[in-house]
Symmetry: C2
Subunit: 228 residues, 2 copies
């Protein structure tokens, strides 16, 4: 699904150059469940944004489902993002002044569902995450963990082939975190959905089958998770 | 320092009334280190915002350092917030298009420091949190955990009497989390600063001397932490 070679990302800040990724090699096959860990500032979110085609690398190559992403048009990348990928942002990125339900329905607008069906699909997804009662709340009328679950529901609602989740349980209590991870585990096991998930909590990473560790913009270890 | 009785908070949402706090009683004395835990949506942030005088309750009473907060003027509350309180928001609340250094310096603007001294104080605080090298980065040019540490530095820079930290380690890796908690522990032990800290991670709560648990807008347990 994902194959990156020598991936580099440099941010320029005035005179300074910040090397966020210094040459990352990683291959993820269909149906894998990979946890990404590493210190704050080590390049995890930068890596996720490039894999999610929300940003482009400064160097190296990235093939998604065998296609060289750098040769895709902006429209082709947008089409892949809306139909094949589900992205849970570290900062949730919900639309302000928009209800929870409208946020979850957003990815369905790209597909061809009638309005009633769209609302049903979105509500069913919210129910799986215990937030259906918040459907009419606006984003700023919910707690941190409730907003995070809206962001997760939005990422899952389209039945993506690849889920990219950046710290999806950061604001959730232990019980709710375990419910979300059980849902991810089920999507991976029963529907073969590929999952790439950033976390800094070891008990969340324990749900994954493989753990990749970043440090200073490089992958320093990549191991099968034998804790399962 | 903090004494609340029968504290209630109701949010009105169209026709609906959301009871976020249903009658909270809590007393915190000078020099205590209290962790607040509880499920997502149980009222923790709502409680912290009222204690931090960023919002007012719907019912009940709140005395800060012996003074009835409901009888204070808006100016008096703002003066207390800028000189006696340090608030770490769950969503960081950094000013956009403002550098990390300017964000940390913000509380110092209310006091009477010359410009050079202000920058020195802010940089020293950032150094304690391992983020001084990010001084000239804008808020949206940093990782999640780096933004969170800017929010922590901003809350501490004025030497507050009471620190209110809402999930201050949510985006930090284990090593960085422990460094932040060690800093809080030192401020509490050596300078007698009172700390009220929300977390959903048991190993973060373990640094506190007392653990208060919320559920559905009420405190359901309040115990000395004998794990220390
Ligand atoms: N502005 C608002 N308008 C309406 N309801 C709100 C508002 N802010 C919070 N709520 C509701 O009040 C309840 C308590 O929210 P609060 O943010 O205090 O929870 P929390 O314990 O901090 O949760 P989390 O651990 O997810 O951050 C939630 O059910 C939430 O939906
Ligand atoms: N837009 C940007 N401009 C400049 N530098 C940036 C930008 N975004 C990120 N950086 C820098 O790139 C490095 C990697 O950031 P990234 O967000 O990928 O880290 P991370 O591993 O996700 O960290 P965290 O665990 O704190 O979320 C950091 O040092 C950060 O300061
Ligand atoms: Mg990140
Ligand atoms: Mg909260």
């Amino acid at each position: 699904v994902v194959d990156v070679r020598g991936l580099r990302k440099i941010y320029t800040l005035g005179q300074e150059e910040i090397g966020a990724l210094a040459g990352v090699d990683l291959r993820i096959d269909v149906g894998e469940f990979v946890a990404v860990m590493g210190p704050s500032g080590s390049g995890k979110s930068t890596f996720m944004q490039i894999v999610g085609m929300l940003d482009s690398p400064s160097g190296g190559s990235y093939h998604f489902e065998g296609r060289d992403v750098s040769r895709l048009t902006a429209d082709e990348r947008a089409a892949i993002r809306s139909s094949r990928l589900g992205f849970v942002f570290q900062s949730y990125n919900l639309l302000a002044r928009t209800t929870a339900l409208e946020n979850v329905e957003l990815p369905l607008l790209y597909a061809t569902h009638p309005v009633r069906e769209r609302e049903q699909i979105a509500r069913a997804q919210m129910q799986l995450l215990g937030i259906e009662h918040l459907a009419k709340h606006f984003s700023n009328q919910m707690s941190g963990g409730q907003q995070q679950r809206v962001a997760i529901a939005r990422a899952l609602v389209n039945g993506p082939a690849l889920i990219l989740a950046d710290e999806p349980t950061g604001a959730l209590d232990t019980k709710t975190s375990n419910e979300v991870m059980a849902l991810f585990g089920e999507l991976n096991r029963e529907r073969g959905i590929t999952i790439l998930l950033v976390t800094h909590e070891a008990d969340i990473a324990a749900y994954a089958k493989r753990i990749v560790r970043f440090r200073d913009g490089l992958i320093i270890s990549d191991r099968i998770n034998d804790q399962q």
